[in-house]
């Protein structure tokens, strides 16, 4: 909300600097988010146009003779909305306009111009640039514009939280400032005629008293519609409201001053001179003041006349009863509507107005009469006419005031600071609460009508805390109870170890949005049976329309983004949740665990070529870089029983796709991207990815390590190279080697070479192993080692047809 400090000081004349006012409000919970200094440049004065003549050869420029009080000057002007005799703002040479433009004597079309006539926008007063700003005819030429507008002023932008509708006005903020400083509020009272005359002029019926607890109306006759005075226009503009006419401006001024929304109807346009507050009929049309025809629902509350809806209650007026230049008789509405209903209507119609904003948060029923009186008086001041004696006030069940028990001991306990009964008393009174009953240690308080948010003791605790300042609360670190000190949980420890392993290998961590383009998810699975994504009902863009069921959609986009920006070697990983439409039954679910439908995954994506280094030849990243990273991660987790097998999956190339099995359960897949997928993401064919089920891996992880002593007896190493058919898998050979040695002397087998080509025959490959042999209880002899090697050779020949390469 925008707040004029000049206006605020009229209501609560504090002797504090602008900065101090802003600071105090902020520290009391009315956060000042911005400050705008409103002032006019020096050298802008009122001036009367005495002669206006078109400049030859120009279709829009006029040469004007202008009287600025000090003399007559000639000024060239391109605006069209004025005539000789009008008073307009003139910037004299030397004046610097907002935006830094300095006015100079200049020649336009060969004609000397000694200043500039200005629009509202050129003076920084508003957005209107349709013509010159028109000043009242009675203004004396030469009057500085500042004086006419009540400037300079400082406008604060205040963030009013939704619980404080009472602070959505200058009066509301003044009340706060008054409570903080003790300076009393200065609000003029109105005296309007009483009587019953109004009953003959208009009639009001409320059909839905629940949605409209109070409806109050006054009638004013004989008004004359005209522009408002400049000071009033400036007040509205400074608070972000466009001036329209004296009557409408008066309702808006009171809205900003007292916080209560008002609406003026042209009484002569109300059929039957009556108002009915009722629900709309389903589909009933209403054209609102913004010119939009709206279809209403039975949940919308309308103000109707004898025939039709004339306003969307609490949100916006209708066109048919709008105050126009010919209006003379007004029905002034000052009502209270129920917040939730207004909120539903405003959201349905996507119509957020100053009125709906306040009603949604809760209007002060006690303010309705005062606001109507203040506005009626203002209208008569601005537009003439008379207020008919009497008021229509339908308020069948006045809202009871909240009564709250407050215990100073409880206040102290919550705040952690001693607050005695005297202080509680002082602070609650300053906010308008009244003591009703009870003793100092427990007193009953009545909340003021404008503080609908105060209903419980805790609400009063908060008020006291705000008033005394939160910096008065001591700082105390809570003690951890014995045995309660929390440790970082094991799954976080394991996850950190895995991240460290990936960092060490050169993988960069990315974080993608959980929602992605649905077509990207579809592209990951160029085959039947693709998983179904859950959709976001109201995404910001279609690129964020579907919840990811795989991290790869994001990672592949990351590869593309970086390749397009010149990256050559990309190794990325993401560890995060995926979102499954069909829960994964392997994972638990319950109030505190949901991994069944939001399991974490660890995914890798890599492509390109390791950077050129002088120590090694550049090598393209491939399948085994991907697998190596996975092996490092699994080693960090210490998961048991790892197996890899060729297993087709739609995302991967059928010749280069592996599934990972841990302890008998499939825990992920990896391999080269399927050519179709690579193409869909515009990526090189040699792109490798992995996606691992992190919940499952963490379940299998064994973060606790046990250390063993080192062997006491020397071992023997033997290198062996076998020639086998190309189709024989490394895992098969390893298993055969291990099976051949049955005495437990084969400590370790390491594959160190794979070779194809001469002299190895076509269709064959050579695979070399280093065998580490050792006995735990003695020194192994060469003869024993020879025996084991011979057995292994024979076994492999028998089982796999392996020949020994010499």
């Amino acid at each position: 909300m925008k707040l004029s400090l000049n206006w605020l000081r009229e209501l609560c004349p504090v002797d504090l600097s602008d900065e101090e006012v802003a600071r105090r409000l902020t520290l009391a919970g009315l956060e000042v988010e911005g400050t705008e200094k409103r002032a006019l440049p020096a050298g802008v004065v009122a001036a009367r146009v005495t002669v206006k003549t078109p400049i030859e050869g120009s279709d829009h420029l006029n040469l004007c003779q202008v009287d600025d009080g000090a003399g007559v000057h000639q000024v060239v002007c391109g605006a069209v909305n004025y005539a000789a005799g009008d008073l307009v703002p003139m910037a004299r040479p030397g004046a610097v306009l907002p935006g830094g433009k300095e006015i100079k004597r200049a020649r336009l079309r060969g004609v000397e111009s000694e200043g500039m006539l200005c629009s509202a926008r050129e003076l920084g007063l508003g957005d209107d640039h349709s013509g010159l700003l028109m000043l009242p005819r009675e203004t004396r030429p030469g009057t500085p514009l500042d004086a006419l507008l009540g400037l300079p002023d400082t406008v604060l932008e205040i963030n009013v939280t939704p619980n404080r509708p009472d602070a959505l006005s200058h009066l509301g903020i003044a009340r706060e400032l008054s409570a903080l400083t003790g300076v009393p509020i200065n609000l003029p009272a109105q005296r309007l005629p009483h009587g019953l005359v109004i009953a003959a002029a208009a009639r009001v019926d409320v059909e839905d008293a629940q949605r409209c607890p109070r409806y109050l109306a006054r009638v004013i006759e004989g008004v004359q519609i005209a522009p408002s005075p400049l000071w009033l226009q400036e007040r509205l503009r400074s608070c972000g409201i466009r001036p329209i006419s004296n009557v409408v401006d008066a309702t808006n001024l009171v809205l900003l001053e007292l916080g209560h929304p008002l609406h003026a109807f042209d009484l002569d346009q109300l059929a039957g001179a009556r108002i009915i507050v009722r629900r709309a009929h389903e589909g009933e049309p209403l054209t609102t003041l913004d010119g939009k025809e709206r279809k209403l629902t039975a949940d919308d509350l309308v103000i109707a006349d004898g025939e039709k809806p004339v306003a969307l209650a609490g949100v916006m007026g209708g066109q048919t009863s709008e105050v126009s230049s010919g209006t003379t008789r007004l029905l002034l509405e000052s009502a209270v509507f129920e917040g939730a209903g207004i909120r539903r209507t405003a959201r349905r119609q996507a119509l957020h107005t100053e009125a709906s904003h306040r009603y949604e948060r809760g209007a002060d029923e006690g303010m309705a009469a005062q606001a109507a009186d203040r506005c009626a008086e203002l209208i008569v001041q601005l537009a003439g006419g008379t207020v008919l004696p009497g008021v229509i006030d339908l308020y069948p069940s006045p809202r009871p005031a909240a009564h709250i028990w407050v215990r100073p001991a409880r206040v102290s306990a919550i705040l952690g600071a001693t607050v005695d009964a005297v202080e509680v008393d002082k602070r609650l009174r300053s906010l308008g609460l009244e003591p009703m009953d009870g003793m100092p240690e427990r007193r009953l308080w009545k909340a003021p009508s404008w503080r609908r948010d105060l209903t419980r003791e805790i609400d009063c605790v908060e008020e006291i805390a705000r008033q005394r300042g939160l910096d008065t609360i001591p700082v105390e670190v809570p003690k951890a109870g014995v045995g309660e000190t929390a440790a970082v949980p094991p799954d976080r420890v394991a996850t950190s170890a895995a991240r460290a392993a990936l960092s060490a290998r050169g993988f960069d961590e990315v974080l993608n949005y959980s929602f992605v383009a649905e077509r990207d998810l579809d592209a990951l699975w160029p085959d039947e049976g693709a998983p179904r994504a859950m959709r976001v009902a109201n995404p910001l863009t279609v690129e964020q329309g579907a919840m990811r069921w795989s991290l790869l959609a994001g990672l592949l986009r990351n590869l593309g983004h970086n390749l397009a920006r010149g990256a050559r070697e990309l190794m990325l990983y993401e560890l995060g949740r995926v979102y499954l439409a069909h829960p994964d039954p392997r994972h638990p679910r319950g109030l505190l665990s949901w991994p069944d439908h939001e399991p974490r995954r660890l995914s890798l994506a890599l492509t390109g070529q390791a950077a050129k280094r002088w120590t090694s030849a550049p090598a393209a990243l491939d399948f085994y870089d991907c697998k190596g990273a996975i092996e490092d991660v699994l080693a960090a987790l210490a998961v048991p029983q790892i197996e890899y097998s060729l297993a087709p999956i739609a995302t991967l190339h059928p010749a280069s796709c592996a599934s990972l099995t841990v302890d008998g359960t499939v825990a992920g897949f990896f391999g080269q991207l399927h050519p179709q997928v690579a193409k869909a993401f515009d990526l090189p064919a040699h792109t490798f990815v992995a996606e691992l089920d992190w919940e499952l891996l963490l379940g299998k992880a064994r973060p606790e390590r046990k250390l063993h002593g080192v062997p006491r007896f020397p071992g023997i190493e033997r290198d062996l190279a076998f020639v086998v058919d190309e189709s024989v898998l490394a895992a098969r050979m390893l298993a055969a080697i291990r099976a051949a040695e049955t005495f437990g002397l084969l400590e370790h087998v390491a594959l160190f070479d794979v070779y194809k080509g001469a002299p190895v025959p076509e269709g064959k490959k050579s695979i070399a192993y280093r065998l580490s042999l050792r006995a735990a209880d003695r020194t192994l002899t060469d003869a024993e080692a020879d025996g084991i090697v011979t057995t292994i050779k024979e076994q492999l020949r028998e089982v796999l047809g392996a020949a020994i390469r010499t």
Binding site: P162, L415, I458, D459, V475, E476, A486, R505, R577, A581
Partner: protein, 356 residues
């Protein structure tokens, strides 16, 4: 014979002296001391001498042999020393060439900050709790005192899920009206508060880190971001404990010179509520562009757990009190690393990521 000894010794001496490599020294050794070496031969020749001559001559031969051996050792040592000197004097390496390097990976700044925050709170005695991101209206709003027509819902623009078949909402959910949706992307980590308290009696001392979502995107907002929720409910907790915990956290994360300030605010599920500012690290609180000349940076929302929330999960607000807060991790990461556009956190450009 004596002459012969002397001659061989002199000859060998000269040969050793001229030897310039280990091989030449070895050749000399073989020539004089080998099995058929000439000095060795003298010993064999002793048999031919008269028995009376043998002791004296034997002594002379032995002396000659040991003399030669000693010369041999000296020469070997000399040549070894020369070789070492040559080796030390050989061409120097270019020590300024870069070392054999290994590409290093980088943590994402948000995930790094999140880990650090979890560790800080672990030290302060908080356990890690968690909850779903696709959340029921019940836990995200209702249980936190934000019914469906509440204006506080405007504070958090919500993403809803569009499912072909809406699953049955949990008991106690607000009535479904028209197209109103029950499943949403959680707008804060606060639903973990309700879930945790519903699942266990007090005391509760948890943090809940995770992703949250709001329909908003500009330089300081992304539609997805990260929060850590902190909740502590126990007997005898006051706002002083809230301040103490916040202060300890801010000092651990930003450094011991940082100051914190509480400013009254409003959150439906806490009361009293407060925004928490930390003194601007960029200018030390003097006022700069980052802190908009205020010297303070807003980092989180906090407060005492609203008694209605405690009652709503079956706790007795007269017996236990609590405090809670939610920290925007992305914002903290932004402040810590001096990032000026929040959106750059989720572009995942390696030129950005590899700076950490």
């Amino acid at each position: 014979m004596i002459d012969e000894i002397n001659r061989l010794l002199e000859e060998g001496k000269a040969e050793l002296a001229s030897a310039s490599s280990e091989a030449q020294v070895e050749a000399a050794r073989v020539k004089y001391l080998g099995k058929s070496g000439s000095l060795s031969a003298l010993r064999k020749g002793m048999g031919k001498l008269a028995p009376a001559e043998r002791p004296a001559m034997g002594k002379l031969v032995s002396e000659a042999l040991s003399r030669f051996e000693s010369l041999l050792k000296d020469q070997q040592h000399k040549i070894g020393e020369q070789a070492l000197q040559r080796d030390l004097a050989r061409e120097k390496l270019d020590v300024t060439l870069p070392g054999r390097s290994q590409k290093r990976g980088h943590r994402h700044p948000v995930s790094q900050a999140l880990d650090d925050i979890v560790e800080i709170f672990a030290r302060l005695g908080f356990h890690v709790a968690d909850g779903p991101e696709i959340e029921w209206d019940l836990y995200n709003f209702e249980k936190l005192g934000i019914p469906s027509d509440h204006p506080a819902r405007d504070m958090q623009d919500t993403f809803y899920l569009d499912l072909a078949t809406q699953p049955e909402p949990p008991p106690g959910s607000p009535p479904t009206e028209g197209a109103q949706k029950q499943l949403l992307l959680r707008t804060h980590t606060s639903p973990v508060q309700a879930r945790t308290m519903l699942a266990q009696p007090p005391p509760v001392r948890i943090i809940a880190p995770g992703k949250v979502y709001r329909c908003d995107s500009d330089i300081t907002h992304t539609p997805m971001f990260h929060q850590v929720e902190c909740l502590h409910v126990e007997q005898g907790l006051s706002m002083a404990h809230l301040r103490g915990t916040l202060d300890a956290f801010a000092k651990a994360f930003f450094g011991s010179s940082v100051k914190t300030r509480l400013r009254p605010s409003y959150f439906p599920f806490t009361e009293p509520s407060a925004e928490v500012d930390v003194s601007c690290a960029a200018c030390g609180g003097k006022g700069c562009r980052l802190c908009k000349q205020t010297g303070w940076l807003e980092v989180l929302g906090s407060g005492m757990v609203n008694p209605d929330v405690l009652a709503g999960v079956g706790y007795d607000p007269e017996k236990v009190t609590g405090y809670a807060f939610g920290v925007g991790i992305d914002r903290l990461a932004m402040l810590r690393y001096g990032i000026d556009d929040l959106r750059s956190l989720f572009e995942n450009d390696v030129r950005f990521l590899e700076q950490l």
